[in-house]
């Protein structure tokens, strides 16, 4: 039974089924559009969350992205490129949100680092991993963060990342390598600081 449900879900995500859903949604079928949203909500919300670092902001962006999708159903290429379109629109919407918001200052960031590292209760928990993820992404410049999130966390190819971010593959590779070096140095500092705090 579970296998059958899984098979149905997979079938629903095939290009033909997706095309059917897009056509139905275009004709005004809100249930079809909701199914389309369910299929892509993780992609949009989690990407926005990694890029913005705040769930309420990520939810606002997701709402905007899906409303934009509804308006552009006629333009979206149904032959498997819906995900690419969603990544691009999500990255752009997050960029707009960040531009409107005040960036976190390095002093606040250092405070966060000390506060997090001093709590032994968080050691090796999921919450700590999440915290390290959020903080290491927040300390990266916007473009390096976007490249790292799409390439390393979302698993897109360099070419797909370049298309989503509107830059060249060479630029993306350079951004990814810089981001990886910075993340590694941040994670090491974080755990060193935590260990010192707990002693």
């Amino acid at each position: 039974m579970a296998l059958a449900v899984l098979a149905m879900e997979n079938a629903a995500e095939s290009p033909q089924a997706q095309l059917g859903l897009i056509e139905a949604a275009k004709a005004g079928d809100l249930a079809a559009f909701e199914t389309l949203m369910r299929q892509h909500e993780r992609l949009v919300l989690v990407t926005a969350l990694r890029l913005l670092g705040s769930l309420p902001d990520a939810q606002d962006v997701s709402q905007e992205v899906f409303l934009r999708l509804y308006r552009n159903l006629g333009k979206v290429d149904a032959a498997g490129n819906l995900a690419g379109w969603l990544y691009r629109v999500t990255a752009n919407a997050c960029h707009d949100v960040r531009r409107r918001k005040r960036p976190e200052s390095p002093v606040e960031f250092a405070e966060n680092l000390r506060a997090g590292g001093a709590d032994p209760q968080q050691a090796a928990t999921e919450a700590e991993r999440r915290r390290v993820l959020e903080m290491s992404l927040q300390m990266l410049p916007e473009k390096e963060r976007a490249a790292l999130v799409l390439r390393d966390l979302e698993g897109l190819s360099t070419e797909e990342v370049a298309r989503a971010l509107g830059s060249s593959e060479a630029t993306v590779r350079s951004q990814i390598s810089k981001a990886r070096v910075k993340v590694r140095s941040f994670v090491e500092r974080y755990f060193r600081s935590r260990n010192l705090g707990s002693q």
Binding site: L30, L133, D152, S177, R184
Partner: protein, 174 residues
């Protein structure tokens, strides 16, 4: 300490972003340089940590909230659209009814026309001529005038008789 020259290539090698030739060169270097090996393993571990954190699912309520907001917005927009459409349809119906009423109104009979056509003006004769009417081409040295005082023009008179015997409309065209 690791080699700065190799840093970028090691970072790309960690994620499998290097072509095969460059990748094997990096691996050879890692075999020889312990500092770069530490860099490589640190980078690999930190990326794995990030991936594990990224794979943790968000609470389903986070998705439900977004879906609910989007659907509510679409339903609301559709309601507004229908309101506009209904208003437009009502306006069209009112206009059609008004047009039908206007076309069905009693039309008063048109006033009868009585046209008095004056008699044709007499032909002008040149003073002292016995031959008949003078034409411009057979009067040498005489410049014909467009409006000769000898040819008085009669105005066109139109008399409109209405149902009311006390009202008669004259239309005089010069």
């Amino acid at each position: 300490m690791h080699c700065k020259d190799w840093e970028e290539r090691i970072a790309l090698h960690v994620g499998g972003d290097l072509p095969a030739a460059e990748s094997s060169a990096v691996e050879r270097h890692l075999g020889e340089c312990s500092g770069c090996q530490v860099l490589w393993s640190g980078m690999k571990e930190s990326l794995e940590l990030l991936l594990r954190a990224h794979a943790e699912p968000l609470p389903p309520a986070a998705y439900t909230a977004v879906r609910g907001r989007v659907i509510a917005e679409l339903v609301d927009r559709r309601r507004v659209w229908w309101r506009w459409a209904a208003g437009l349809a009502a306006a069209v119906v009112v206009m059609l009814v008004a047009l039908a009423v206007w076309q069905e109104r009693p039309v008063p009979p048109l006033p009868r026309l009585a046209m008095a056509v004056p008699a044709a003006p007499p032909l002008a004769y040149a003073r002292g001529s016995e031959r008949g009417p003078v034409r411009s081409h057979d009067r040498k040295g005489v410049v014909p005038t467009h409006r000769s005082p000898l040819v008085p023009r009669q105005p066109l008179l139109v008399r409109l008789v209405t149902d009311d015997p006390n009202i008669v409309i004259y239309w005089i065209a010069d």
